[in-house]
Subunit: 319 residues, 2 copies
Amino acid sequence: MNAAASHLTGVLSPVLTPFDANGAPCSDRFIRLCRSLLDQSVGLAIFGTNSEANSLSVKEKRALLDALLDAGLPAARMMPGTGACALPDAIELTRHAVVSGCAGVLMLPPFYYKGVSDEGVFRAFARVIDTVADERLRIYLYHIPPVAQVGFSAALIERLLDAFPQTIAGVKDSSGDWSNTAMMLERFQPRGFDVFAGSETFLLRTLQAGGAGCITATGNVNAREIARLAREWRTADAALQQRRLDAIRSIFQQFPIIPAMKAAIAWQSGDEAWASVRPPLVELDASQRAKLQTELEAAGFELTGAAGLARPGETAVAS
Amino acid sequence: MNAAASHLTGVLSPVLTPFDANGAPCSDRFIRLCRSLLDQSVGLAIFGTNSEANSLSVKEKRALLDALLDAGLPAARMMPGTGACALPDAIELTRHAVVSGCAGVLMLPPFYYKGVSDEGVFRAFARVIDTVADERLRIYLYHIPPVAQVGFSAALIERLLDAFPQTIAGVKDSSGDWSNTAMMLERFQPRGFDVFAGSETFLLRTLQAGGAGCITATGNVNAREIARLAREWRTADAALQQRRLDAIRSIFQQFPIIPAMKAAIAWQSGDEAWASVRPPLVELDASQRAKLQTELEAAGFELTGAAGLARPGETAVAS
């Protein structure tokens, strides 16, 4: 059985959000990228950090999710990000995801105030859970202190799990700190709390330790190979595969990674619109793009499914 | 002439947002606090950090502003916070404020991504200004790196002023770093860019250096005395007044300041609903409240206009 294709385990990607010439999210390109990722056994953690999700309004996110569902993409493979600074926004997005049949949601804590207490973050999650009041709700905690600054202590995870054992389903650990992921794997994975590494850098180690997989930015551009390791991690080839993944990722990580991934898609698909980002992000400049391309070519990088991402109208795409 | 009563100079306060028993913003209490502050010559920087503004949805903020205007409060004394992580939200709130006649808006930069470039923040502001496209728009930059993490460098302020001289009107400097405020006063105030200190701690020094005033949390609870210093700062009594303001503020600053100010209003008005905060904030516990009250009583603190903030129905309030 291929776990990655049947459930929220294995590899998911915070899907990049394409913008049109007016800076509005482009649902056609978004649908095609999501379909391409699913074809490569990568699940859809839409509306993550790498999706520029916090640069989108609630209305824009609702419309993009609706567009995916209208295009026939399976909600069972989706884990939209629904956390927000304002509880009414988090509640609205979470309810919309659950009612739409999404398998889970990936929730940031409220992230404007810094130095908030575990009690305050607990209350925020309790408020969302109690207000949405839907037994289908599965929440994955989004722990990304380098960006959100506010994160989840072990004590807070324990308290949430004790209070809402059917709802608190797992975590994406984007701390970048393996010792923290290892702690979560040891302490919470045995309770059925699925630990996802925050990048493929820790994929092999996470799977070896009994974890669920990874939710990773570079799943957008290196989907096939990352998903392959998630399938073949018990084989003798796994360590070599991990090193190859690390090599590709390290190329992207030399640049601001969101613009770099978008530039790579623009390059490989021939659709320049993919290079656009929304402020406060800035697209790569020409010299950065040249360096990125040169290094990716030297590494033998190829974007699987690039043809399906070509400019609308230039390639037949069913949607 | 009393500058504080006629224009966006002097003292403004990020007005605390009251919540009802269901956790919804309470417009009646909000109107009464705003009216009380205006009566004490304190302008309305509604929807600031101390207003829990980022814990409110766009819809809630629009409704609260509309409620103030429907109650007859003057838009000319209002500087609502309209910054947001998502540009569509910032644009909607800014347009609503301008169309409503607000004298200015106080704008946070997009604050989710950390380490963003000046270029990215510039583009965010340019996008708001170009999209709102209203010559009445006056933007005050909200520089609060301890919370937002993303701030405004001198080079960025200069670039914004050069590009939008009619629109970029000033700054609230909540860096907590006097040398930064002094730099802004020296470099930008002469261009008609109004520098507001981020608290009354720097009020006297800011006014002595030609600045516009302060926008301060404790304006919610010590309005009359702070506004008095803004009027009397050239008198021999000013240094003593400043020390008295500092003494009161230092009492509040021993606690998380938003719950502490709300607790003080609940205590002085007798309306316990004032103590409520929205997650991720947490109200003061009983021992904190006791300590706060004891110290405020010892300092001779008294909330001016407390009677007008009593429980709805218990005191006649025109609205």
